[in-house]
Subunit: 465 residues, 2 copies
Amino acid sequence: MALDFSKYFTERTKRRHDSPLKSLLKYMSNPELISLGGGLPNPDLFPFSEFSTQVVKPASSFENDNVELLNVSFSRNTKINSQLEPLKGFMQYGGGLGVTSLVNFFYNHMKQIHQPKYDNWSVILSAGSTDALNKVTELFMEQGDPILVDEWSYPTAIETFTSAGYPMVLVKMDGEGMIPEDLDQVCSNWSGSRPLRMVYLIPTGQNPTGFTMSLQRRRDIYKVCQKHDILIIEDDPYYFLQFADAPVVTKEEETEEYFNHLPGVEKLIPSILSIDVDGRVLRLDTLSKLLAPNMRLGWITTQSNLLQKIKFHNETTIQQPCGISQGLASTLLNEVWGHDGFLKHILYLQKEYLSRRNAIMSSLYKHLGDMVEVTAPVGGMFVWIKINLPSHLESKPGIMAEIFDTMIENNVMLVPGWQFSPVTNTDLVKDKPYFRAAFSFATKCDLSRAMERLAIVLKQYCHQQ
Amino acid sequence: MALDFSKYFTERTKRRHDSPLKSLLKYMSNPELISLGGGLPNPDLFPFSEFSTQVVKPASSFENDNVELLNVSFSRNTKINSQLEPLKGFMQYGGGLGVTSLVNFFYNHMKQIHQPKYDNWSVILSAGSTDALNKVTELFMEQGDPILVDEWSYPTAIETFTSAGYPMVLVKMDGEGMIPEDLDQVCSNWSGSRPLRMVYLIPTGQNPTGFTMSLQRRRDIYKVCQKHDILIIEDDPYYFLQFADAPVVTKEEETEEYFNHLPGVEKLIPSILSIDVDGRVLRLDTLSKLLAPNMRLGWITTQSNLLQKIKFHNETTIQQPCGISQGLASTLLNEVWGHDGFLKHILYLQKEYLSRRNAIMSSLYKHLGDMVEVTAPVGGMFVWIKINLPSHLESKPGIMAEIFDTMIENNVMLVPGWQFSPVTNTDLVKDKPYFRAAFSFATKCDLSRAMERLAIVLKQYCHQQ
């Protein structure tokens, strides 16, 4: 059984509760009853007869020639032998959890992949992890409450915490992400007037550093969180985009040889959720990187009594994710691809992003040499590049802005490191010698050329040996 | 020019600002630049080739036999001669405003229908008006700040205000909604420690009362708000579902005779937005009642500098509404139906809901007689029924619960009035003699039968003359 964290709810969370109208639902099961209760528009007046999409077969993409397409649709009529809802089930108002067939899919997915270790866990749909992050923090955090974060972190999370008024408490990182000993020290030495209650983590392919926490690192961080009674936000959009010990190789054919080094689904580094026995992890998943971002469809996994409050929060904000997105995702995942097809597609994405990582890293190693320091990413979409500046430039004010401008002159753009700093006074971080390179979007050819151009830039600052 | 209300922003609103990453966008216009900037998944890996739906021709529905269907779709390839975005424009991450072609459609729609009277107004997309309501209140309201509301109001709005910790200050209503003189008095006599800043109104077919504010009423309320410097939330989902002076008649054929009494588009009672010269109205529109609720698609219209803050709020919550919903709506409204078809469809909905109103009201007049008092709704989906109880029952504790139970025994359900009361102590309102009947959902035949059953119930309590 999970621990009870409801004692940490904010006043606002405590005030969230079920609509009194829900108490009328129990009468609806009587087929003789005429209900004038629900303020619902008439579904016969919805102008839509069906929604459909054409998707690739699992493990293919529009980069392949002659890609084969499958039809995915839901319509006004219930399909024979289908467990899925008809169109009005997806397109009418519904509760804050999401539509049952899709909630069930993700529940079973989590059970199979993450095997939570306590009983009363469940899932709720989100309109993507950005909305989910706002909601899981608001469960426990009031304006002024501090939140533990990596010393470099995801800008949208930083903006979420900044606008909410949560002072960010920085924890140091190494090539495996947040350092447990530093987390322990920060918590032990904490002298703020409000307690440290939550830590924000991106355990796989962290944004911006690309660092991935090993299993041991996850266990160590979890232990420290238990010691100090910290709740963990596990924001894990890149979970399936892990590359394990596939080496950085130069040629596409070589990359393909190492596809069997990829972790598949079974050998992924287990999530922090999967080692959580207390119910202190609030895990955020999303289809944004697995299907498409603007489906605005994700799910949150944690204790049911925490999800209950998020459900009420949904009911005064988004209600639930878009019904077209839910209907097409539910049909695709439950019936067209199935769970096996979904996993097959995800393994394909591992390969695709591995190819891209290898394109950028092999070119980086070749052209940048010891002008930079990097940890080759074993997951995600990012490389964190530290520039090895000679000592006379290291302390020069404005040096990083100067290098950025030279990049732009040379037609290559990476994001300056300070944009990922939770430190409010940007002057303190403007000249930290880091850049983030995303290898998700550009073509493999452009990834390689970008590193060549970056070499031309850096040679003007660093004296290559 | 609009007045500047930014002085009333909350601390949280003041802290909302643009992501620093946005400063990089200006470099993207250079086609020679290789950007490794955006952390975007690769759109070639989105598995979708197109999204489509089948819709009825404007001014028809699935209640018609042989309804004719039109195809609506957007795909990976830009259509020839189309102003619309291709699939990746709808399905990739985007800014907090929404996709341009749809924002433009609603901007032009507002310009044509509501003709705002000041310059710097604009629109932003919302994931429906529930999310929009939360966001417009959070611009100006901190926990503890009071909000002005009708004495009976929409449960989700009440729940939004309750959970946010906004004490609700009640203003009396008559058959035209909020009474301006009472609003003036409440504001003039206000002695709370925090100022009254916002009023929440549903001007057309108010939920739960079905009351519609006349143009004069809207002007009078606006004037009082100017006097006391109150911002107005105009939540108007039923705007197009107005029945004007179409009389309540019994037979379907008679209802059809009076279709030409419907206001069409031109003779709708003007919105409060359209009489706003100060930029103090935050207007919420939604497709929920015009197309389908779970499209989760609406729009907010107000001053641009307020929308800017809502855009930042979107960027740390929903990002923007679902791209499939946006893409299909944009294609439908811009290209398949067009604005004329959209308006034609809306006029059809006026007729459909008028038929339903006439079905319930004619049966109500026939069977309930003077056991009840009602204002025949001239818009929306609801009738507010006051039970004329004999004086010995009026003061009997639990009488309304008893009547509700008798309704259930007689297989008819209306929603007890107290569920729409903003009063926290429900004991004070449990026995107010009101029920809300929705005429949107049940069949016309059932609407009529429901009133017959209600008559059987009420005869046990009221002594009909």
